[in-house]
């Protein structure tokens, strides 16, 4: 209660002075990035002690639904590290802003009119339970996942339900087409929750899954008997991004926050949580392969979004057979 009173008092004090100076006041941050976001907020607060940061922590789906619902009177200022597919699916919610760090970003990871800036790259990799599957039997490529010897040994999230799972299907389609996709479908069990994928592999419920590399690295750090395998035929270059919510209540501080999020310092914090930064001058997290050593291919997220309805319909038909 005491903190809340102080909080209100601070608010009134700021209002009473009229002109809100930069580096004072408030900023409301929507954080779908879990502890990475929390660390970024802590670092920002340390740097700008005059600014009160309040955070809303939830999943990407909930936060974007919230931002869309609040459109008439936005309540949040900044969103941290949300998947780029989310931005593609929700145009018009974010403000164009020329960040002071603009030149340090590749144009590939910046939204149209500078509406969002890349944060980390959630590269998809295979997670394998080493206790259930000896090393010489590990799959090495998307192609391998279609091999009949893996029948019943693969767990995937359902692409018609999960955004990240659809990205996996779209990668297979862009690389190999429907033949391989059908082979994978015959082998895999498709579950509704993408979290269940890596947790089930980690706990020894099933042999192989496909998930973001940070999830695998976190399990490795915790001592789970798992291995990360990057497909030799290439993993798609996906990224997540941060942005200023258009019409938010504290625009000046939102700009300050986004500039901080885009800084090298902030991207090093992101890397410390096993996420791979999009900035070329920030090294890959300890224990993850360097970005240059991973076979990648230019995954076309816009094409994937365009062909989604058609792909999902075909997938649904095959799945129900």
């Amino acid at each position: 209660m005491a903190t809340r009173t102080a909080f209100l008092a601070a608010g009134f004090a700021v209002a009473a002075f009229g002109a809100v100076q930069a580096q004072e006041g408030q900023v409301v941050v929507y954080n779908p990035a879990g502890n990475a976001g929390e660390l970024l907020i802590d670092a920002f607060s340390e740097k700008y002690p005059g600014i009160t940061v309040s955070a809303i922590n939830a999943g990407v789906g909930e936060l974007f639904t919230r931002i869309a619902a609040e459109r008439a009177n936005p309540r949040g200022d900044v969103i941290i590290c949300a998947s780029s597919e989310a931005f593609l699916a929700n145009p018009g919610l974010f403000a164009s802003y020329e960040s002071s760090e603009l030149e340090n970003f590749s144009p590939d990871v910046i939204g149209e009119d500078n509406t969002y800036y890349g944060c980390s790259m959630p590269l998809q990799a295979f997670i394998v339970n080493t206790r259930l599957l000896p090393e010489d039997e590990h799959p090495q490529s998307w192609d391998d996942l279609a091999d009949p010897r893996y029948e019943g040994k693969i767990i995937l999230a359902n692409p018609s339900l999960s955004g990240s799972a659809y990205a996996q299907l779209a990668q297979i389609l862009q690389l190999h087409g429907w033949d391989v996709a059908e082979g994978v479908m015959n082998n895999a069990r498709f579950v509704t929750s993408s979290q269940a994928v890596f947790q089930d592999v980690g706990r020894g419920e099933i042999e192989i899954g496909v998930t973001g590399e940070a999830n695998i690295k976190n399990m490795l750090d915790d001592g789970f008997p798992v291995a990360a395998i990057y497909p030799s035929d290439g993993t798609g270059l996906r990224f997540d991004a941060s942005a200023i919510i258009d019409g938010g209540p504290n625009r000046a501080n939102a700009e300050l926050f986004l500039d901080f999020l885009n800084s090298k310092e902030a991207h090093e914090i992101v890397a410390s949580t096993n996420r791979r930064s999009v900035r070329a001058d920030v090294a890959a997290p300890d224990g993850l392969a360097a970005t240059a050593d991973i076979v990648t291919f230019p995954y076309d997220a816009a094409l994937a979004a365009q062909t989604r309805d058609e792909n999902i319909r075909r997938w649904d038909d095959l799945f129900a057979q």
Partner: protein, 574 residues
């Protein structure tokens, strides 16, 4: 019953008596108008507006120009959706029937057999309702999964291979064990309150014990049983955590809905699926009302005697084994949460490799303020539910008026809908325009209120149905106003039903997540959000620690609240 006696004995001619009729009686009109206002402002208007958008393309607002059935298209084009619809119906029916069958013997034993620790049994039976999303379901994987603890030892010691937990088996098992409580609490309360004269009369007239059970006891248990069964059915239709973790490739509508928002940011698509879910539930409600209408039993008499208790040795042994066995099984997920909270390292091994208080130290600073907020918000919302739920439930059961089904549906709607849809409806309506409530505690209380009033409403409808209207008429004839009769006659008679509902409302609100996640602000973060944050960060053991704190605090509160009211739990549920 003393209140009743006093009301009946109120001397008629004294004009100074409070509650004496003086001129026209405005109170029912004021109560009715206020209730109507609340229903329209917080339920009908926001929710219908949001549901109407299910006929608009993704991301748009409905208008005459863009109306479309595109969001429903997959129900007739996609086998995935058709299968999910079929699975939903099967799961809903099977879980409801099994929960009821499992709960009835327990209710009879606790109400009618002379057992010890009844208050403890009743308090513990509420705990399965506090199941943090996903970790509650994951507990079954930890126990009975392919590498689960039970699976391992059953195989190693007895050579028994546990059938796969994924699919129908696991989903039905987990749902029955977390939902049977609703039927149990309602039926137990009704059975314990039955006037013993009824059964004695039957016996005196020569009915056998079995016949008394079949013709007197069971019929009396039916209205509360149906009230509980309806809640079970709605919970089963709406649950997403259990089918998401344990369903494997068996999908249901609630998971499709949940992932429309999580995977594709398509709220209108989710609303379309929700509408189908609402239609199913509506059919169930109408069937139930029809069924219930045929059987009306007025049971609450004017005796203060307790229902007769069995004291035979045989039945006592059966009762102890059944009740404690069922409780032990139903509380397994909570036990796993408690256990996990002490596991500092559990890297995919059979047992944790390191134990300690580390998780609690880690979460301590993140728990205190959210816990206070949750308790405050849940308390205020529960009080609001009690007041309006009692009024509406009473009116729905006692008064004759056209379109009663509309009142029923209005109150049930936010309960049937996924919490996130209700949350968005309130957020859109009260985020801009003349009344802005977002960011405040008020909007959370409103959200909780509309999501939970159905519990009190259902429970009051069932309880009022058992009160003889003659008692109220007697009070009115004696000159009491409507408000006085309500306060002194009706409410005391149905108080156990209200309190039972209130305890369920409070308990489930403490762990409410799906509406909260849309409406909370940084100043009003709740304990369920604190759990959710840890899950989003993949810190499952830390989430379990907060879950364990929530379970323990709720148990203590429910237990001691009943002490303060001056009744034991077992009497509350009578």
């Amino acid at each position: 019953m003393t209140d009743l006696a006093r009301a009946e004995a109120a001397p008629v001619p004294e004009p100074a008596i409070p509650g004496q009729r003086r001129g026209p009686d405005y109170l029912p009109w004021i109560a009715g108008a206020l209730t109507l206002f609340v229903l329209v402002a917080f339920m009908v208007y926001p929710i219908l507006k949001t549901l109407a958008n299910s006929f608009a393309p993704a991301g748009e607002v409905i208008s005459f120009a863009n109306a479309t059935f595109a969001n429903f298209e997959r129900f007739w084009t996609s086998r995935l959706y058709q299968n999910a619809l079929r699975n939903t119906l099967i799961i809903g029916v099977v879980v409801t029937i099994l929960s009821t069958l499992v709960a009835l013997p327990m209710a009879y034993f606790v109400a009618r057999v002379d057992m010890r620790f009844k208050p403890l049994i009743l308090s513990l039976s509420i705990i399965p309702l506090i199941s943090p999303p996903f970790i509650g379901a994951y507990a079954w994987v930890i126990l009975f999964g392919r590498s689960g603890i039970f699976t391992h030892y059953l195989g190693e010691w007895f050579g028994i291979s546990v059938p796969p937990i994924y699919g129908y088996n696991g989903v039905i098992l987990a749902m029955v064990l977390s939902n049977f409580t609703y039927v149990f609490l309602f039926v137990q309360g009704a059975l314990a309150a039955v006037d013993p004269h009824l059964e004695e009369s039957a016996k005196v007239m020569g009915a056998s014990r079995a016949r008394v059970l079949r013709t007197v006891v069971l019929p009396l248990a039916i209205p509360p049983m149906l009230a509980g069964a309806m809640i079970v059915m709605i919970e089963a239709l709406g649950e997403f955590g259990v089918p998401a973790i344990l369903g494997g490739e068996m999908y249901v509508l609630s998971t499709l809905m949940y992932f429309q928002i999580h995977g594709f940011f398509n709220l209108n698509g989710a609303a379309a699926i929700a509408l189908v879910n609402v239609a199913i539930t509506l059919v169930a409600i109408l069937l139930l009302i029809r069924f219930n209408k045929k059987r009306r039993f007025i049971t609450v008499g004017s005796t203060t005697r307790r229902a007769a208790q069995h004291t035979g040795r045989g039945i006592k042994i059966i009762a102890y084994v059944y009740v404690w066995g069922l409780l032990a099984f139903a509380l397994l997920p909570q036990a796993v949460i408690l256990f996990t909270s002490f596991a500092e390292r559990w890297p995919g091994t059979l047992w944790p490799t390191q134990y300690g208080w580390g998780n609690y130290q880690y979460v301590f600073s993140r728990v205190m303020q959210p816990l206070q907020n949750s308790l405050l918000l849940a308390t205020v919302a529960t009080i609001a539910c009690v007041i309006f739920g009692t009024l509406t439930g009473y009116v729905a059961e006692r008064k004759k008026f056209a379109g009663k089904w509309a009142l029923d549906l209005t109150i049930m709607l936010p309960f049937i809908l996924p919490g996130i849809v209700t949350g968005v409806a309130l957020l859109v309506t009260y985020n801009s325009g003349p009344v802005v409530l977002t960011g405040t505690a008020i909007i959370l209380v409103i959200g909780y209120f509309v999501r939970r009033i159905a519990y009190i409403y259902r429970s009051v409808v069932a309880a009022v149905g058992q009160v003889d209207p003659k008692m109220e008429e007697a009070s009115a004839v004696a000159g009491a106003t409507w408000g006085y009769t309500m306060r002194k006659v009706t409410v005391p008679l149905i108080a156990p039903g209200i309190l039972a509902g209130a305890i369920i409302v409070f308990t489930t609100l403490i762990s409410e997540m799906s509406t909260t996640v849309m409406l909370y602000s940084a100043q009003w973060k709740t304990i369920s959000i604190a759990i959710y944050e840890r899950l989003e960060s993949q810190e499952i053991q830390a989430a379990a620690a907060i879950g364990a704190i929530t379970i323990v605090v709720t148990l203590i509160l429910v237990f001691s609240a009943t002490k303060v009211i001056g009744k034991s739990m077992s009497e509350l549920f009578r």
